[in-house]
Structure formats: structure tokens, C-alpha cells
């Protein structure tokens, strides 16, 4: 049935596709090249065609084309136009003029680092759209591509979502080059591979595939490349597009790839044989393959003492359980299984619920949905107002609801505890499916009580065991069991015991450090 649905979407052209045009060659005729570009580019006010003459004698026509909002105009004028128009001395009677211009331009006239030539007009067009300046010269069947783009960007800032108390305080930002530099400067390994591809038929967004060549399993790299090839999409605006297209199981609520805004986390994963994808315009890196337990790991676990790290890991496991189950447990105990409660607690809950007009399941849904509203409102509103909304919503609204007798105080405690627990989990993307599952569990508990809870948890565990991320079992090291990987799971062993890379992810080198002789 799902195949039919997929076919339906495909046949209805929900994904825009561009027909690939046949590759055009650069002509020696300047006009022909300009005409080609004008034909293939929509008229745009920021697109500049600048005609000029090369050399002091002004005998050779040239055209420089660029988008004026994407380039550094200062460098263009001072280092390119000035050099070409005034500094270049050419003898036009010389038959070797074409070769001379070519060599002179590249070797001595234009003092910029990123300078390449191409004979393909299609590539020239692509580079122009990426923000490069292209230069055509009459009589030369080649385009010069000048890399002097200058894009607006913000400064590298502290991580907003994955904040830590200890550890680097840098996060990725939007430009790909900055993000690559954040990784590259942390690792001086000649095996670090950064392969940049363009993705999106229209947006042609740069995507960097980053891995350490002698660690990563070649099958994983092949899978990444194959899946990238198979993506048919008109535009990629965020790394989430790639993650969604890559998923082994598209219907699963669990994220099958990690996203991080932390360069140190990305690097740690590279060292474990994983692949990191960086997309131009996205301040998040995607890490693949990934396992479920990684969502409960925080970078500072590796920076702190292992006792503290292990304790915090156990807290996170408990928080995961609470996030999914606490309201459901409350419902099943209050509505069905009073005998499972200690006597004093049962009487206290009964007294607190006296007068509440809703059954506990409805009460729980009202409170949980209100909390989700508050959470969403807090995100959308500007910082200070968002915090105020949180306080107003959490304290005043909660207290008012209790005073009005709409909800019972224990329910407020349960909802608050659940919300707090959901924030304990370090990965924001992992908390979203947990929030979703919480509602399903509440419904199951309301219908089947504790049996429902058990059924729910069994289904979750079965699903987690069946999931894969790029062919790697998602619930490893628990299923399949990998004993050596358990030392970095619910608890974390000291670093001295972690000489080997995790077995869950296949790698070329199992040991982190070769044996010293």
C-alpha cells in the first residue's frame, strides 16, 4: 500500500524536477557566450553584465558577470578590474595571445586564490549562481571563474540547543566554509576527507560529505553516496531534508540520524567511523549512522569524570522513561489499579482529585496539550517574552486551574515532572518522538491500563530493535547485544577502557590507537 502512495506522490509531481540540459561548451565568440547566459538566466536586477577592454591598449573585449549581492565588490574592482584594465600589457600582434592571456591572468595578473577555468558553460552558469564571478574574453573558448564571493553571515556563537557546562562553546553557523573550518581546525589528519556535492535541482546547495578515510567503513560511504544520488528534490533548505530522504524507515517517529550544532560532537563521531554531512545554509550537521543510545549521550560525558557521567546517563534513561510513561502510569494507577499505590498516597490522590470534573485521562490530555502549547509559544516568541510565557503558563495558569478545580494538584506535578524530564535528554530531536509517544501511551493506558503500558513499551522496543540507520542496528549495543559497547551506554567507563571504537558501527580500524612497539 505504501508503495502505491509513494507512486501516487511521484506521479503527481510533488517533487519538482528540472530536465538536465545538455552541457554547452564555451564559445570563442564573446557575444555567443553572453547570449547563452542571458537566455538561461531570468532577468534579475542584481545580475550584472559588465563589458570592458583588457589591457592598456584596450584591444580585447571582455565581459564580467556576477550577482552584485553575492560578491566582494571591493576585491572585484581593485584586484580584478583594475588589474585587467590598467595593469595588463599585451602585444596583440602576437599569435600566442590566447595562451599568453590565459597564463598571465592565472599566474600574474589577478591576485586571488580561487581562480579556475572551465570550458563548460553549464558549469560557469552554476558557479555564477553560487556567487562566483565569471569572466569571458573574446577569442578565448574558456571561462575564468573568480572565487570572490562574500556572503552575509553571523558570528560563530555558543550552542543554543546543545548547551553544555563544560566543553567548547562554539556552534556551527550557516555558511558551509565556516563549518568546514570549525571541523578542519580541530583535526590535523591527512585522511580527513571532505567531498562537496551539489544537491537540489534548483537550489544546487553545497553539501559536504566528511569522513576519515582510513576509519570509515567503505560500505557506509557507498550507501551515503548512493542515497545522495537517489535524492530527487528541487530545493534543500536545511539538513533535515537530507535526513528525511535518507531514512531507512520513513514512517518511524525516531530520528535515524543525529543532528548536532556542535563541531566537537561531529568530530567525536568522525573518529568513531561515522560520516558527517554539512549543508550550506544549515547550522546543523547530520551524523550517520547513529544508534538510539547516542541520543542520551552528551559531549560533556566525555569531558567529566566517569562517575558523574554514568550517573547523568542513568538519569537520562530515567528521564526518557518518565517522558514517555509518567502521565500514562498516573492514568492507569488513578483510573484502574489503586491497589498498586501505597495506601497513604492513594488516599492523598483521591482527596486531591475530589471535585475534579474530568476523568483522569481527559485531565491529563488537557494538561499535556496545554503544556505543548506553552512550549511552542515559548519557542515562537522572542527570548524574554518566551520566558515570561513559560512562567505565566506554568505557574499562574497551573495554579489557577487547580484553584478552579479543573485539574488536581498531583496532575500538575506529573505534567511538570514530565516536561522537566523531557528537557533532561540532550538531543532535542530525540525528545520530539518521545513527546509524540507519550500521547499514544496515555491513550493506551486509558484503554488498557497497565496492560496498555506494557503493550506500548513492547511495541516501542520491538520497533527500536527492528530499526536500522544506514544498515547499522539502531538499538545496538542492546539488540544485537555488543558487550564491549555496553561500557559506553547506560553507564560510561573511564577513557582508558575505551581503546576500541564502538563495534556497533563497522569501521576499518577497530582500535583507536595502534599498539605501541
Amino acid at each position: 500500500m505504501w508503495d502505491k502512495i509513494k507512486d501516487f506522490f511521484k506521479s503527481n509531481n510533488f517533487i519538482n524536477r528540472l530536465d538536465l540540459e545538455a552541457e554547452e561548451k564555451v564559445s570563442s565568440n564573446l557575444e555567443a557566450n553572453i547570449d547563452y547566459l542571458k537566455d538561461n538566466l531570468a532577468p534579475s536586477s542584481d545580475l550584472v553584465f559588465r563589458s570592458f577592454h583588457i589591457g592598456q591598449k584596450k584591444e580585447i573585449d571582455a565581459e564580467i558577470i556576477y550577482f552584485n549581492e553575492l560578491i566582494n565588490a571591493d576585491i572585484l574592482q581593485k584586484e580584478v578590474l583594475r588589474s585587467l584594465m590598467f595593469d595588463l600589457e599585451l602585444d596583440c600582434s602576437n599569435r600566442t595571445i590566447k595562451k599568453e592571456i590565459n597564463d598571465t591572468l592565472i599566474n600574474s595578473t589577478i591576485p586571488i586564490g580561487e581562480l579556475e577555468t572551465t570550458q563548460s558553460l553549464t558549469k560557469a552558469l552554476e558557479q555564477l549562481l553560487s556567487g562566483d564571478v565569471i569572466l569571458f574574453i573574446e577569442g578565448i573558448p574558456k571561462t575564468f571563474i573568480l572565487g570572490i564571493k562574500e556572503l552575509e553571515k553571523r558570528e560563530v556563537q555558543t550552542p543554543q540547543i546543545e548547551a553544555v557546562t563544560r566543553g567548547p562553546q562554539e556552534s556551527f553557523i550557516e555558511p558551509l566554509s565556516t563549518n568546514i573550518s570549525l571541523i578542519r581546525r580541530r583535526i590535523k589528519d591527512n585522511n580527513l576527507m571532505i567531498d562537496i556535492k551539489q544537491i537540489g535541482e534548483r537550489t544546487k546547495t553545497d553539501l559536504a560529505i566528511i569522513y576519515i578515510d582510513d576509519i570509515v567503513d567503505q560500505d557506509i560511504i557507498k550507501k551515503v553516496r548512493d542515497r545522495l544520488e537517489s535524492i530527487e528534490i528541487d530545493g534543500v533548505l536545511e539538513i533535515g531534508y537530507i535526513n528525511q530522504s535518507f531514512r531507512d524507515n520513513w514512517a518511524s517517529p525516531f530520528p535515524q540520524f543525529q543532528t548536532t550544532e556542535r563541531p566537537d560532537k561531529a568530530l567525536a563521531n568522525l573518529l568513531e567511523g561515522k560520516v558527517v554531512l554539512l549543508l550550506d545554509g544549515s547550522p546543523f550537521a547530520s551524523i550517520m549512522p547513529t544508534t538510539f543510545i547516542q541520543f542520551l549521550q552528551s559531549p560533556e560525558d566525555y569531558y567529566d569524570h566517569f562517575y558523574i557521567a554514568s550517573l547523568l546517563r542513568l538519569f537520562r534513561v530515567a528521564a526518557t522513561f518518565i517522558t514517555i510513561s509518567l502521565p500514562a502510569i498516573y492514568i492507569s494507577l488513578v483510573s484502574f489499579h489503586h491497589e498498586l499505590l501505597p495506601r497513604e498516597l492513594a488516599l492523598s490522590l483521591a482527596t486531591a482529585r475530589e471535585g475534579v470534573p474530568f476523568p483522569s485521562v481527559l485531565e491529563a490530555f488537557i494538561m499535556e496539550i496545554s503544556l505543548e502549547f506553552l512550549r511552542e509559544a515559548g519557542i515562537r516568541l522572542p527570548g524574554p517574552i518566551g520566558q515570561t510565557i513559560g512562567i505565566v503558563g506554568g505557574l499562574i495558569l497551573g495554579e489557577a486551574a487547580v484553584d478552579a478545580g479543573l485539574v488536581s494538584p498531583p496532575m500538575v506535578i506529573v505534567v511538570a515532572l514530565t516536561a522537566i524530564a523531557s528537557f533532561v535528554i540532550p538531543s532535542y530531536s530525540a525528545t520530539i518522538p518521545l513527546r509524540l509517544l507519550r500521547f499514544s501511551m496515555m491513550l493506551l493506558a486509558a484503554v488498557f491500563s497497565t496492560y496498555g503500558l506494557m503493550i506500548g513499551w513492547l511495541l516501542i522496543l520491538i520497533h527500536l530493535c527492528s530499526l536500522e540507520s544506514l544498515g547499522v542496528p539502531y538499538f545496538a549495543p542492546f539488540a544485537p547485544i555488543k558487550l564491549t559497547d555496553l561500557k559506553d551506554s547506560f553507564i560510561k567507563f573511564p577513557l582508558k577502557f575505551m581503546g576500541k571504537r564502538p563495534e556497533s558501527t563497522p569501521t576499518q580500524q577497530k582500535k583507536r590507537q595502534p599498539d605501541k612497539e
Binding site: 494507577l333 488513578v334 483510573s335 484502574f336 489503586h338 491497589e339 495506601r343 492513594a346 488516599l347 490522590l349 483521591a350 482527596t351 482529585r353 475530589e354 471535585g355 475534579v356 476523568p359 483522569s360 485521562v361 486509558a446 484503554v447 488498557f448 491500563s449
Partner: protein, 361 residues
């Protein structure tokens, strides 16, 4: 496809309805905390209970109910229409039987207790010599909830040696295990207080006699391990209070002249909490030895007295039969056990050791 959608929709709706069948919101449920059982009159048993009132503005904290019926469940069923909300025995703390009911046999009353999974296995049992339903009128100082009061009375007691606890689980385990009989504490009450004093001993589910406080103490020392508690003994007209820090009992069954013999070795670690003869506080080996000997001989006498009562009533709450079956299966005859037990020779050896005399400043 449309049919599939219809079936899924119907199943979802049905699923939601299923929840309504068993749902019992906690605030719409009433929880009796204790139940008393009294003997038959006019072919019906009499029961009483108190149910806490949850509404804060209610004039009374608890509601008193007396009900009757040919069996416990019949009476309980008749009580339901008189109570606002569904009655649940999920929080039952204690069941109190009159002596007459206990002598008649508890099995018929406890069938519901065995079948209903919501009744906690930790529900305490007690027997009262008089009428059990009079407990409803006792006004104890700390609370109106007699169930809560009794539970605290049992669980909050410091002297574990005479405060015997029997739960629903304990009772059924003893009842259904070959070679051990149940024992239930005796609860005596006045107008405004209650006291646990002694215990009722059983042959199967019928109470056949009573044990005094000292006998209960001797029984718990032989039966249980790792106990703590006070023992008061008169030594040369002075009072000595021993505090048992730990006890270990070893029971070895054997056969002698065609009858069973039990060798009971009791080892005690004790402190001296009080000695009214001041001189004995001096740490001298001979004094300590003397105090140990006094304790040994007193306890030995108490244990022999306990076995006299148990053998006379042919009741085995210690579980000597169970021990014999485990250690000397050849000596255990389940059909003749009571007879064998009543004729058995008992030999007790007590070895107490005083660990601390107190700290003098």
C-alpha cells in the same frame, strides 16, 4: 479499502469503549481500611467497617458501616448500595476476627480474600477475644481511622519479640503448607485504646488456643532470625533489661526411642540496657557470665513452657514439621504429624553473649 477503513474505525471506537468497562476513578472509589468479622446470629454473620470520607468539607472524617450476610461477599455486596462510590478493598489494612469466628474456622470468610487480586497480601490479621464490631465505637486519640491506627500499632512497634505480625500472605502460606500452622496476634481493646497481647494458635484454619506474651516472645525467638527486642528478667531481685541485637536458631530433628526429638540451639547477641543493681555495670567477666547464664536459663524455661502449650494443643506454628520434612524426610509422616509433634522430645540449648554493657561517662 472502504471496508478496511470502516473496520479500523470500529475497532478504534471499540477500543475506547473497552476502557470504560473497568475504569474506576480513584476519587469515585471508597476504600474501607479495616473489616471486622463476628459470629453468626440469626443465620447471618455480622461485619463492620469504617470508610474514610474524602471530601474536606464533610462533617465526619469517616463513615461507619455495619453490615451482615450469610457470607462475607454477600454482606459486602449488600453494603455497596449504601455507599457513595464503588467500594474497593484495594487499601484494606487489617481484618479483625472475633475469637468465636476464629474458632469456627476462617476459611469460609477468606475465600474472597484469596480470589480478589486487589486485596493486598500485606493486609494484617488479628483476633479479638470479645466482639469485633465493638471496635467501631472506639475513639483512639490520634485518628478516626482505626485501620490506620492499627497498622501503625503493628508496624510502628519497637519490641518485635512480642508484637507478632501475620498478613494475609503469611496466613495462606501457613495454611497451605504442610508442616506449619497459622498464628494470628490477639488484639485487646478498651474504650479508647487497643493493645496487641499474645496470639491465637491454629490447627489449619481453626483457632485452638492462645499464647501469652512470653510464649509469643519465645516462639518468635525460635521461629524468626535477626530479631531485635527487649527482654526483662529479674536477677537477684534486681531488674535487668536485655536488648536482643541478633538471634540465630538452629533446629535439628532426629529420632530417639521411636519418637521425634528436636535439638534447638539458640544463639543471642545482647546488650544490657538497664540493670538496677548498679554494681553490675562494672565490666567484670564473672558478672557478665552470670547475666548471660540468667538470660539463658530464663529463656530456656520460657521455651519449654511454650512447647508444653503447643504440644498439648497439637499446633505447630514454628513449622517444625516443615523443617523435619526438609531435613529428615524419613521421619515426617504428614498424616500422623500432629500426634508425632505432641509426643516429640524437645531439647533447648541457649548460648547468649553480652556485647555491650552501655557507655559510662
Amino acid at each position: 479499502m472502504q471496508n478496511k477503513i470502516k473496520i479500523i474505525t470500529l475497532l478504534l471506537i471499540l477500543m475506547l469503549i473497552v476502557g470504560c468497562w473497568d475504569v474506576s476513578e480513584i476519587d469515585r472509589t471508597r476504600f474501607p481500611t479495616y473489616i471486622t468479622f463476628d459470629q453468626k446470629a440469626d443465620d447471618v454473620y455480622r461485619f463492620s467497617t469504617k470508610i474514610p470520607v474524602l471530601k474536606e468539607e464533610a462533617p465526619e472524617d469517616v463513615s461507619n458501616f455495619r453490615f451482615s450476610g450469610p457470607s462475607f461477599y454477600s454482606g459486602f455486596k449488600d453494603l455497596q448500595p449504601r455507599v457513595m462510590g464503588k467500594i474497593s478493598l484495594a487499601l484494606l489494612r487489617i481484618a479483625i476476627f472475633s475469637e468465636a469466628v476464629a474458632q469456627e474456622g476462617l476459611k469460609p470468610h477468606l475465600d474472597t480474600f484469596l480470589r480478589d487480586p486487589v486485596i493486598p497480601g500485606s493486609t494484617l490479621f488479628a483476633i479479638t477475644p470479645g466482639r469485633a464490631d465493638e471496635i467501631i465505637d472506639i475513639e483512639v486519640a490520634p485518628t478516626n481511622d482505626i485501620g490506620e491506627y492499627l497498622e501503625l500499632l503493628f508496624n510502628g512497634g519497637t519490641d518485635d519479640l512480642i508484637l507478632l505480625e501475620t498478613t494475609l500472605n503469611d496466613f495462606f502460606i501457613s495454611l497451605l503448607t504442610t508442616g506449619v500452622d497459622p498464628i494470628i496476634p490477639l488484639l485487646k481493646y478498651g474504650t479508647d485504646d487497643m493493645e496487641v497481647k499474645g496470639a491465637g494458635i491454629f490447627q489449619n484454619d481453626r483457632m485452638v488456643g492462645q499464647l501469652s506474651e512470653k510464649e509469643v516472645r519465645a516462639l518468635t525467638l525460635v521461629k524468626e532470625k535477626g530479631l531485635k527486642g527487649e527482654i526483662e528478667i529479674k536477677v537477684e531481685d534486681e531488674i535487668v533489661n536485655y536488648y536482643i541485637q541478633n538471634n540465630r536458631a538452629k533446629i535439628e530433628p532426629s529420632s530417639k526411642d521411636g519418637r521425634l526429638k528436636f535439638q534447638i540451639e539458640l544463639t543471642l547477641d545482647v546488650d544490657i540496657d538497664e540493670d538496677t543493681n548498679f554494681r553490675r555495670l562494672i565490666d567484670s567477666p564473672s558478672t557478665i557470665e552470670r547475666l548471660e547464664e540468667e538470660l539463658n536459663s530464663n529463656l530456656k524455661r520460657e521455651i519449654y513452657l511454650l512447647f508444653d502449650t503447643l504440644q498439648e494443643l497439637k499446633s505447630d506454628p514454628i513449622g517444625l514439621g516443615q523443617i523435619t520434612r526438609a531435613k529428615r524426610f524419613d521421619l515426617f509422616d504428614p498424616d500422623e504429624w500432629r500426634q508425632d509433634f505432641s509426643r516429640a522430645e524437645i531439647e533447648v540449648d541457649i548460648n547468649s553473649r553480652i556485647r555491650r554493657l552501655g557507655i559510662a561517662t
